[in-house]
Symmetry: C2
Subunit: 281 residues, 2 copies
């Protein structure tokens, strides 16, 4: 496995592969790899001749009071994991490489970046769309891999790719969970043992939503209120939102039918966690 | 020459050419071809195996009170010209094809889109950047051709291409002028005979700027004021701006040295015209 830091070198390598007719699978990440990342790397390995994993903690998608500085960066461990997953290139661009002096371009996806996390993290999805646009421009991948845990991110990127007509196929893999249901996240590493116990209530809350729907509840407001009430009873958990939305448009649903995206965001201590389920009713 | 209207068909054709190792030259236009467009087509023809000219009057770059509806659309004449210039494909996408229902992505170039025309046409360069991003995504050109007359547009697009790391080379060709100096523009067709005479004062004003600089004037404010005064004396011409800026950053200059972009925008009747010169002092 090669570790590349230069934007230019990665770009040249990718262009050479393209010219040779090799397919490129791309897994954009912020590092701190867990089993979720590994599932993306493995799928990319199965689908493509070449696998590039980028590791870049993107400052543009963090708000001024968010955890950019605290975000975990276990670089040596990440190298070992990428190597074990037979990644061809672990690409670790610098901040200066990605946002050189004079950088001025922003990509925004109207509407889809505004609800849910967008409401609580203004500018977040603009930062996500911009960095992914740049990463795709450099890597020119045939396929790119994302986790369903970041449901809104996937929807924003899918829209961008469609609108800008990029010849890249997005593959979205299921959220990988701990045995008690907690969605894997690089941020879980920040939880204390007690917080770890509290964090499992996010998935419990989503499961409650699903149970209510499966039991025949079709009023979104009822499901939402009961799920909120459940989370608010959990000590140590501060809910940001529980929403039931259309999984394509992210518009809030009133009547539950067809596919429903139930999404939750909550703070456990100083750690903000998100999770979601798609339920077919 | 083929005339294609479908986005998908153009995209498939361009991808096939790419796979065959053919180079693609791309001339994005809003139609109403004049000698300026023809010079771009000719250069594209010389440089590439394949030449695609797009013809799309992009609603996103027009303000609500601008001339989108009145913009000239002499389609049959445009076909004849493109054919005469040995263009391979004249691509005429529909509004629905370019902006289908649900379209939500916007590309913005901070700072560079704000001064000069950006101040008078809010949102204009966001519209330009967005449509060019889409056109480039569909055509995937090796080279794209623009005229120096639209100096700010070129600077905005150059920045976007650099920031998003697209593998496309921009070629900027000199402004083509009438014998009396008037820059060719599709909008010139709207001028009456009298307005046509008045319109030549834009180039005269730029020439005055250049003369003053060549005579040793280094104070931008002096050059600007004299040029403005000249234009304000011209009956039928309503000046929007005269600016002397750095041709890379578009920042206003105080002291004139090195390269200077002198740019002017003015109304002649209901027609808004722009022009510019780059002067090396």
């Amino acid at each position: 496995m090669r570790i590349i830091r230069s934007v230019r070198r990665l770009s040249q390598l990718a262009q050479r592969w393209r010219r040779q007719g090799q397919t490129i699978g791309f897994v954009p990440t912020m590092g701190a790899f867990h089993e979720g990342h590994r599932s993306l790397m493995r799928q990319a390995r199965r689908d493509n001749d070449r696998v590039v994993v980028s590791l870049f903690v993107n400052p543009l998608q963090f708000g001024p009071h968010e955890d950019y500085a605290r975000y975990p960066r276990p670089f040596r461990q990440d190298c070992a994991i990428a190597h074990a997953e037979s990644v061809d290139v672990l690409w670790v661009p610098t901040r200066q490489g990605m946002y050189p002096r004079g950088h001025a371009t922003r990509v925004e996806v109207l509407r889809l970046g505004e609800p849910l996390c967008g409401r609580w993290r203004p500018g977040h999805f603009r930062g996500v769309a911009t960095i992914v646009a740049k990463l795709f421009g450099i890597v020119q991948p045939h396929r790119a891999y994302f986790g369903q845990k970041d449901a809104q991110q996937v929807i924003v990127i899918r829209r961008m790719v469609k609108d800008l007509h990029w010849p890249v196929t997005l593959r979205v893999l299921p959220t990988v969970r701990e045995r008690d249901g907690l969605a894997l996240s690089s941020r879980n590493a920040s939880l204390t043992a007690q917080q770890r116990q509290q964090a499992r209530q996010l998935f419990q809350a989503l499961s409650l939503s699903r149970r209510l729907m499966r039991a025949g509840e079709r009023r979104a407001s009822r499901v939402r209120q009961q799920t909120l009430a459940f989370l608010r009873r959990t000590p140590g958990v501060r809910v940001e939102y529980v929403e039931l939305v259309d999984p394509r448009t992210l518009r809030p649903l009133r009547r539950l039918q067809g596919s429903v995206l139930v999404a939750v965001a909550a703070w456990v201590g100083r750690t903000r966690l998100i999770d979601n389920l798609v339920v077919h009713v």
